[in-house]
């Protein structure tokens, strides 16, 4: 079986409003990051892949199965929505058993998988806890467990780290990397750090369009020659933020080191061309595609 997702010329409308414009993507085994601002269309694309939304036109195949075959697609995909919860009075293992039953797994198999998954997501000690007693991070990990209960070939996770504390976020990212060893994992996020730490291949979305697709290395290459750092006095900061896309600031004793995205070398003293990081490369990608980017403006 061809273990990849192929998206060809996909368009999607909400009423008269177009939400996805001619999306073309090929996603292979491993972690794939979908990066974009809030409202970029990432969730719409994720939901279309999870057969929760219907596309207007175009073709999507997941492991050679067209999305129109909803039941087959649902059997091979696991989905963790951005905003989800579970019945609060159910215990963790009960909630998983319930969703396992909906995935049509036998009772014995389900029990076996629940133990193994809860161990994997580090919730085995909390298996008899009610869902309402879990912290945000624990709930997300339970969310991953439910998405994997039927051992899907594809895992779709939408903004999974939003609202998590740094430690929980790292733990969650590591977990996703482990899971991606033997399946396709699509991680949709607006947090660049999540992508940087986990994904080899990425796509950048904005306003329903794919602006860029390739490897992390390629997007960094793409931004080379457009990222600068400069040291400026604090009083000039507002002016600089107005004129340039500022992606980072580091306050020193009597000046600030500013990271700037620019097509040409900024007309500022002490400006140095720098190696791009993913955040700056992403901002440059948006900027070079004509998106309205106000990096540092307050």
């Amino acid at each position: 079986m061809n273990e990849k997702i192929v998206i060809k010329n996909v368009n999607k409308f909400y009423g008269r409003k177009q939400a996805l414009f001619d999306i073309n993507l090929t996603i292979e085994k491993g972690m794939f990051g979908l990066l974009g601002r809030n409202g970029a269309g990432k969730t719409t694309l994720m939901k279309t892949l999870a057969v929760l939304h219907k596309k207007k036109s175009g073709d999507i195949t997941i492991c050679d199965v067209p999305v129109e075959k909803a039941k087959e697609i649902r059997a091979m995909t696991g989905y963790l929505p951005q905003d989800f919860s579970m019945y609060p009075n159910m215990k963790c293992d009960e909630a998983l058993e319930y969703l396992g039953a909906l995935s049509e797994i036998s009772k014995a198999e389900c029990k076996k998988r629940i133990t193994s998954l809860l161990r994997r997501v580090n919730l085995i000690e909390h298996r008899h806890k009610k869902v309402r007693e879990l912290s945000g991070g624990m709930k997300r990990r339970l969310g991953i467990a439910q998405a994997l209960i039927h051992d899907p070939k594809v895992l779709i996770v939408d903004e999974p780290t939003a609202g998590l504390d740094p430690e929980e976020r790292i733990r969650f990212r590591n977990l996703l990397c482990e899971i991606a060893q033997d399946r396709i994992v699509i991680l949709s996020t607006h947090i660049v750090g999540d992508i940087e730490a986990t994904c080899k291949n990425i796509a950048v979305m904005d306003a329903g369009k794919i602006l860029w697709k390739g490897t992390v290395q390629e997007i960094l290459e793409n931004a080379k020659g457009h990222i600068y750092t400069t040291n400026v006095e604090k009083r000039f900061l507002p002016q600089i933020k107005k004129e340039y896309i500022v992606t980072g600031m580091l306050a020193q004793t009597d000046y600030v080191t500013v990271r700037i995205v620019s097509d040409a070398e900024p007309d500022l003293p002490n400006t140095v061309l720098t190696e791009p990081d993913l955040e700056s490369a992403y901002m440059y990608c948006l900027h070079s595609n004509g998106c309205d980017v106000m990096g540092g403006e307050e």
Partner: protein, 417 residues
């Protein structure tokens, strides 16, 4: 596995506990507390033995002619199409047709009818919302040449003019217009029917079903709606939508678990009622099965229909609209329960079947065919509603439909505007 999990979910829900409380309250207060006690043989020399329904053609023709003339004078005909109250007002042409039929029934011409109208007292009354004036028509003769066959033809035509569901519908004539006071002998016969024909349990099964049927026509809709809305309320709908299971399996498993769980307290109450009968009538010969079979056949369609409607409405409408529609159902249910005849009056489409009596077995069996048709009709309706709920669920699951909204930004009224 899924069925037992759905049952467990229902068992732990607040609305289900409320449902159980309401069913128990209704049956305990009405059946166990009031009417379900032991019946003793009638005592000779009593003043009132109640009434009985007997197919006496003369009484039927006379009472129906008076009733029709009364409604004709006021041009307000009370009908219950599909069990719902409706006051029908006819136009001049239709009134003229009804007058022609009254003339044929009574042998009176227009002028004589006007005389009766003018000589009748007018009495005013209100239903709490509107004020009405009716003519207190005391007596309208029945034409001597009128046969019962022709009479039923005329009544059928009048019912058609009124749009159906009137007292003049041929199948209602006996029950509506042929009630006569019982004599001591009639009362003894009625009592003997309870002991010998109903074998005791038959009569109590009807009375039990009568009371339980009212609450079971209304309350299950809320339990079903709460279960259906829980996924969205708990933000679990997308986790469920994305599972492999088919919409048909999911909705029907939920439906089956709802019906099962809601029948359990009813069944337990039936068992208690049966045990009570065993102790009350120890030594008497009883039908051991009818106390279970009749209430099941009587009440299950109520639970099935109310549950299916609850699911359907909640899937079809979003947010506040679903609650609004549930309350409409609630009021309709109350109206139907209040307006349905208390005994023997079981129409083909009356959702709440009533027989509020331990006696009057014959009146009940006079409508037996209607009763069987009615219950099967509602089973079919409930299954059809559940199938429609499956289709809507499947559309929502695939992102093709998001529920009708009556209020707010995406209200259907705003979209049209």
């Amino acid at each position: 596995m899924l069925f037992s999990k759905e049952c467990k979910k229902i068992l732990h829900s607040f609305t289900y506990i409320l449902y159980c409380a309401l069913v128990i309250l209704m049956v305990v207060s009405q059946y166990f507390g009031e009417s379900g006690g032991k019946v003793y043989p009638p005592v000779k020399g009593g003043d009132d033995y109640g009434y009985k329904i007997e197919e006496d053609h003369d009484i039927i023709m006379s009472s129906a002619t008076v009733a029709l003339t009364t409604e004709y004078f006021a041009n307000r005909y009370v009908c219950y199409p599909f069990g719902f109250y409706k006051a029908v007002h006819l136009n001049n042409k239709e009134q003229a047709e009804v007058e022609k039929y009254i003339s044929e029934l009574s042998g009176l011409d227009s002028k004589e009818l006007i005389d009766i109208k003018n000589n009748s007292n007018i009495y005013n009354y209100t239903d709490g919302t509107h004020y009405y004036s009716d003519y207190n028509v005391m007596d309208v003769p029945v034409s001597e040449t009128l046969t019962y066959e022709r009479f039923t033809e005329i009544m059928g035509d009048v019912d058609d003019i009124l749009g159906g569901g009137s007292d003049y519908a041929v199948e209602s004539l006996v029950v509506r217009f042929s009630r006569i006071p019982m004599t001591y002998e009639d009362a003894v016969e009625d009592y003997n029917e309870l002991i010998e024909d109903d074998k005791i349990t038959g009569a109590y099964a009807r009375l039990f079903s009568d009371y339980a049927g009212i609450v079971l026509a209304i309350v299950p809709v809320f339990v079903a709606a709460a279960l259906t809305a829980a996924d969205r309320r708990r933000k679990m709908n997308e986790l469920i939508y994305s599972r492999k299971t088919s919409s048909f399996r999911l909705v029907f498993t939920r439906y089956a678990s709802l019906v099962t769980m809601m029948f359990i307290p009813v069944f337990l109450l039936i068992v208690i009622a049966f045990v009570q009968l065993l102790s009350m009538y120890s030594g008497e010969k009883m039908d051991m099965s009818v106390m279970f079979t009749l209430p099941t056949f009587w009440l299950l369609p109520n639970i099935m229909t109310a549950s299916a409607i609850g699911m359907l409405v909640t899937e079809l409408f979003s947010g506040g609209a679903a609650i609004l529609v549930q309350f409409v159902w609630w009021f309709m249910g109350l109206m139907m329960a209040g307006t349905a005849g208390l005994d023997g009056m079981i129409g083909k489409y009356t959702f709440i079947c009533r027989h509020n009596s331990l006696g009057m077995r014959r009146a009940f069996f006079m409508n037996w065919d209607n009763f069987v048709f009615n219950r099967i009709f509602y089973i079919i309706i409930s299954l059809a509603a559940a199938v429609v709920a499956v289709l809507i669920y499947d559309m929502k699951r695939g992102g093709r439909f998001d529920g009708i909204r009556l209020f707010g930004k995406n209200s259907i009224f705003r979209r049209k505007a």
